[in-house]
Each structure stands twice: as C-alpha cells, then as structure tokens.
Symmetry: C2
Subunit: 418 residues, 2 copies
C-alpha cells in the first residue's frame, strides 16, 4: 500500500525553493504505487503541527511545472525552530501524531541548518517510537552556509543578482562621478557569512571595475583603513563602489547596524549598514554617495536566476524522493562539485546528523589578504554557481508566476497550539 508524503518549506524563502518543491512533487507523482498523496505544510512546519495540510494532488501538472520558475514559498514558510527533543517533546510527538493520522510515511523538509536539525530529530523520534517514517532533508539557503554540500540551492541566484546589480550600478556611478555621485554602496544579506558579499566581487573582472571594496562580516571593520582605500579608489578611478554585508561588525564584534542611526523616537534602527558606511565617507572625505538596500529583492529575483542554481534546486528535490523510495533515512541530497571549468556536479547523499547545525563559514583564504576583496580561489568557487540564465515566462511585460490553489485537507485531530 502506498504511503502519503509530507513536504514543508522552512525559513527565509528563495528564488528557487519552489524548483525543489517542483522536483519533489513531480518525482512523487511518478511513483503512485509507493507514494499516495503529497501533502504540503501550510506555512511550513507550523502546518504540520496545526494539521493544516495542503493537498498538492489537486494542483494541475501544468501549475506544478510552473513552480520551477516561481520565487517565494508556494505553500508558505515559517521561522519556527523546534528545539531539543527534551524541551519540545510535545511538539515532536504532535508531528508524529499528525503523520500517523494522515498515513504519512515520508517527511521532506526543505530548509537550512535549523531545518536539517529538525528533520534529523524527527527521524530519531520516529525510530524510537517505532513509527515508520523516512525523513529526508532538502537543502535551501541564500546564505550558502549549510555544511555537507559544495553549495546550497538558493545562493547561486542571489549571487547572480547581486553581481549583476553591482556591475550595472557601477556603470551608472562611473558615468556620473565627474560632477555628482562618487560613492555607491550596495548592502547585501548574509548576517554571519560573507558568501553573498563575496559574490558581488564577481562583477569586477579587471582592475578598476566595480566593486572596488567588499566589507565582509568575517573581517572586523576598520574605518580608517577603509576610508584610506575609498579615497585611493576615487583618486585613481574617479569613483568607488562598495558591497557591504548587513552583518558587518566592528573590532569588538558588535554589529555596525546597531551602532548606527536612531529614528525620531530614539529607537535604534537596525539595518542600514550601507547608509552608515556611506555617511562616514561623506562626513570624512566629502564625497557624495548613493546607496541601495537589496533586501528581499535579492532573494526573490527569479527573473535573473542562475540556471545552475535552478537545476540544482530541482535536482535535490527529485533526489530527495528517490532517496526516500530507496529507503534512505535521515539523509540530505547534497551537491558535489566534480570540476570548476567546465562546471560539473552530481548529487550525493549526506547524513543529516553531519549537516544539522553546522555553519559553513567562508574560508579566510577566500578573502584577499587586505580583507577588502575576494581571492582567486573564491572566484573559481563562485563563478560556476552563477552560470547560465533561466528566465521565467513573461506576460504583459512581467514575469508570469504561479499561485497554487492550496486547498486544505480535512482535519482529523483535535486542535493544537504550537
């Protein structure tokens, strides 16, 4: 008898997490003898806890195919971290109860570090309770800080977006620098790891091209050294373009974002590292600046997704189902790089317990010795990840994204408040 499956999206969404969902659903549909219905959690794991399940079998094949080019999380995601089995045993047991009530034998969890930890714990508890459940994690994070995989689906498209945006803004500022703006700062995501900041560096291929300076969360911010470099760039190239991580920290490890501005009510304003840095330049060097805050635009930019990223996101979704059907429990399909140029990769299974809660930092040798740029090794690593285009279809001049019907499944259990 086929068992049903459960799939949930977790944490911050990306331009390609739906490509993974597409891979999961399309692969599951090819195995009706083994997998019955595929239920998605509405708003992530919260949907499992509250028994708010979406019946994906009611979506057409055409709409599921369109997921591959639709950003965001089609079923909703959530920031909800399950802690240890001891602290939140009730929650974990509730998950198993919901799975049991809906005859769910496969659990697919699409997320980052925390989610891989949760998936691993669920697999442990199911084993302990002798509940037959195959748990497979599916990697996703724009931060690229997930262990056990060469890179993480979601990152390549952000990388392509920020590098493209930086290159384009660089052409703009270079045009205007003689009489107007000389400084441009782009603030990007990555609170703990500088992968996205590093990706901005791909925009510059020969000396003098934007960006000229990168501000990594891994490198304590030295204002004086920085200002000296900015001034040097302006004198030499006429302008200076900078990528700044939202997670930039001072020498004491304090977030620059928290040292910055206060609003009219005296509240500290988080974010705005880019503006803070730009304002210091104007105050000290007198150069006019512009700054941009990419925020959600960077992680939702499906219109400029990396083809490699889309293919990998889809592939890990397919591989997760195949792994589950092969009886592999507590694993995560990971990306293994076979060669840089031409870029070649394959999917390999990693044990969830080796991934859970391990943060993959940027190696120091990926950052140039002065701390303001990327090293060649980093460029070799990053470049293949932004390769290829995969434009979505356009309708009336705008990307044509799908909204699923997301029809709920009748509840069988009593209410539960997570």
């Amino acid at each position: 008898m086929p068992k049903n499956a459960f799939y949930a999206q977790s944490g911050g969404v990306t331009a390609v997490i739906n490509a993974s969902a597409c891979g999961v659903i399309e692969t599951a549909r090819r195995h009706p003898e083994r997998i019955g219905k595929l239920y998605a959690g509405r708003d992530g794991i919260i949907g499992a806890l509250t028994e708010d399940l979406i019946d994906t079998s009611l979506e057409s094949a055409a709409d599921i195919a369109r997921l591959r080019h639709t950003p965001g999380g089609a079923f909703g995601s959530c920031r909800y971290k399950l802690k240890s089995l001891e602290e939140q045993r009730v929650q974990y047991e509730r998950l198993i109860a919901v799975f049991q009530a809906h005859d769910i034998g496969y659990f697919f969890y699409n997320g980052g570090n925390d989610s891989m930890d949760t998936a691993w714990k669920v697999s442990q508890l199911a084993t302990r309770l002798d509940f037959p459940l195959v748990c497979v994690g599916i990697p996703k994070t724009v931060d690229n800080d997930l262990a056990g995989t060469d890179n993480c689906p979601g990152f390549g498209s952000v990388a392509k977006y920020v590098a493209t945006s930086m290159r384009e803004a660089g052409f703009d500022v270079a045009s205007m620098a003689r009489t107007s703006t000389k400084i441009f700062v782009l603030e990007v995501m990555g609170r703990h790891a500088g992968w996205i900041t590093a990706a901005c560096g791909l925009a510059s291929e020969t000396e003098g091209e934007a960006p000229h300076l990168l501000l990594f969360p891994e490198i304590p911010f030295d204002l004086e050294a920085f200002l000296q470099r900015v001034d040097h760039c302006v004198r030499r190239y006429g302008y200076c373009a900078i990528a700044a991580s939202e997670g930039l920290r001072d020498a004491d490890g304090k977030l620059i974002a928290e040292t910055g501005t206060r609003d009219a009510f005296g509240h500290a304003q988080l974010g705005g590292v880019g503006q803070w840095v730009a304002q210091r330049i104007q105050d000290r060097l007198g150069y006019k600046y512009h700054w941009a805050l990419a925020d959600y635009l960077q992680r939702a930019a499906r219109h400029i997704a990396s083809r490699a990223d889309v293919e990998q996101a889809y592939a890990v979704g397919c591989a997760a189902v195949e792994a589950a059907l092969a009886g592999k429990n507590a694993v995560m399909p990971a990306i293994r790089r076979l060669s840089d140029a031409p870029y070649a990769w394959e999917i390999a299974l990693t044990e969830l317990r080796q991934v859970a809660n391990v943060e993959k930092k940027m190696p120091r040798e990926f950052i140039s010795p002065d701390g303001f740029g990327i090293a060649d090794a980093c460029r070799r690593y990053l470049s293949p990840l932004v390769e290829g285009e995969d434009a979505p279809p356009f309708l009336r001049g705008l990307p044509d994204y799908v909204r699923l019907k997301n029809i709920g499944v009748a509840k069988k259990l009593a209410d539960f408040v997570p």
Copy 2:
C-alpha cells in the same frame, strides 16, 4: 563638405541612454557625405566646455552595436545646468567656439528638461551669431516627466524593473507573513512625479496581490489613513506590500525624507522614506517589516530592460540624426502613441522650445480616488511601456557590457574653466 557632429549625455543616466547613443552613431556613420566625425563630450556638456572631446570614429562598429545593451552613460554624463544666456553668456559662447574650432555643424543633446532647455538656448545663440549649427534634443529621463512626448526613453525599463521587483518581493513576503515579516516597503525614485511609483502598481493584477498601497509624491501623506489601510491589508491578505516614492511629502509639502532620522552625529539623513514609513507601521501596529531601496539599481537594470523602451531609445537617436540631416533645427524626436493594445507608436518631431523646462506631472485621474493606487487609465498607459524583453548577452553568468576606448581629440583652444 561634411561637418562634424557633437553628442553629449546629460543628467542621471539610464539603462537605455546608450541605446540612443548607438542610434545616433550608427545613423551618422551611414552618412559620411554629410557628417564627418562624431565627437562625444566626455562627461556630458562639460566635455564641450573644456574641449574634452571623444573621437567615436575610433570605436569599432561591433563595440558601438554593444552600446545598445549597455547601461550607464558610455561617454560620461554630468549634472551641470546652463542657466540663461544672459547669466552664462561666456559658457554659451565657449560652446560655439569649441564647435567652431572642431568644425562641428550638428549638436545632439541627450537628456531631460534642463538639457532640452540648453539645446534650445544653444540653437538661439547660434542663430544670433550666424553660426551654422543644427541643434537636436534627444529625450531621456527615468522620471518620465518630459513634455512633448507620450513617454520618455529610460522610463519603461525602470518601470519594468520596479514592477518585477515588487511582484517578486510580494511572493517572498506572502510566504513569510504567518510567523515573520508582514510589511514590505520598496522605495523608488521620482522626486517630483509619481510615474515610477505608479509603475510598481503594474505588479498587482488581481485583488490582494502586491503592492497593496502606493505612496505618490503628488498625494500629501496622511499617516492615519495610511496606517488604517495597512492594517486592513494585513488582516485581509496576511501582509501588506507598499511602494513609496522618495519624494513623498506631508500635508505642508515638506519632504518626509527630511523629517526622518538623524545619524549618530545628529545629521539629518536624507532618503530612507521607505524605512521611515515602515518604522511608523512597526511602532504603531507592531508588524515586523523589511524594506528595500532600489536606488541606482532601478535605473541601471539593463538586464531587465523593456524591449519597447530599448527600441524607442534607439529610434529617437536615429531620428535625431535624420532630423538634423533634413535641416530641422531646435527640435526633439518624440514618441507618439498610436494605440494602447496592440501597442503602436511612431516618432514625431517636437519643437524644443515647447519641451524646455515643462514638467509633465501625473494626471490626478491616473491615481485612484483614495490616493493609494493606480486607476485603469494609468494601467492602460503604463502597460505597453514595459512590454517585451531584450536581455543583454551574458558572459560567465553576468551581463556582458561594453567599455569604449574613449580616445580624446587633440585640443585646439586655450583652457577654459566652466
């Protein structure tokens, strides 16, 4: 005997001003019997004043063709407004002197309101001095506020970028709203006219889709009415996405950007309307927000340019040269709309004096009665302008833009400080 030509880019650059340059140069090259060399001003009109001319004949046909897909201003632009002939007679006479020294008989000026005014004044002075010069303006501005033309090259691509970005961010926020971010604010350009803000509205095609609210510079900001609408959206749709013009003003006409935050040194922080608005929502309604500042990214985003915009930018460049060759002086090729759907347009010549210094505002009837959205008439006007894609070539995963050699012409006159 052929005369040489002078071309300059003026003011804030766009994703397609180089497409106009491409049209000018390619058309001029097809008429060697009438047009000798085409010189470009380095950094705009400043290059003419300082006799800093670029010899475009030294660029290959292939590189000139690549201008069509390269953002920014290939020869540099500047913010330098020539005032009245009376106030700055020396400057105007210097222009004529430089044109005379380099045997220039054609003056092409690619810019917005101010530039059309300058081009008109130069044509007046040339006539008065009996200097044979044909002056043709070429429209360019992301703000779409140039008179005498249905729309302005540069705007359509910004419109496509902001509408796409808003749609994508909307999918992101909708996914996260259950447990995390409920508010998203995108701050866009357009200090005096709400055309770019209006374009964000294209992203929403059915009720409930992002953006839910638009904040126009033309509509005095009413915080209480706004908060009420935000709360309504969150209760009804789960989230609220907002596009805010950088030029948003309060009931007294004061820029919101100037009422906002102060930095650690007590300096008023310009910009950040988006954050200011978002922070008011958090303070009063308690909803978590994200905000993005598109800044230069929006006007440099050649990767998502509107094909209609690229074609029009190229066409006005070609038409400018053709008009000059036909002896039309003090004119500007404008875009005349023939039909909305299917979109059809043609180039028509407008008198420069009818364009100079006239600002085209958004008609009030383009804004919905409540002031927070666009009316159907506005949608009919805007929609064709974002039609079609025209992706640049990509190399190593990033848009492949051209950098010209920009070789200078030997000076013949004494130095001049503008």
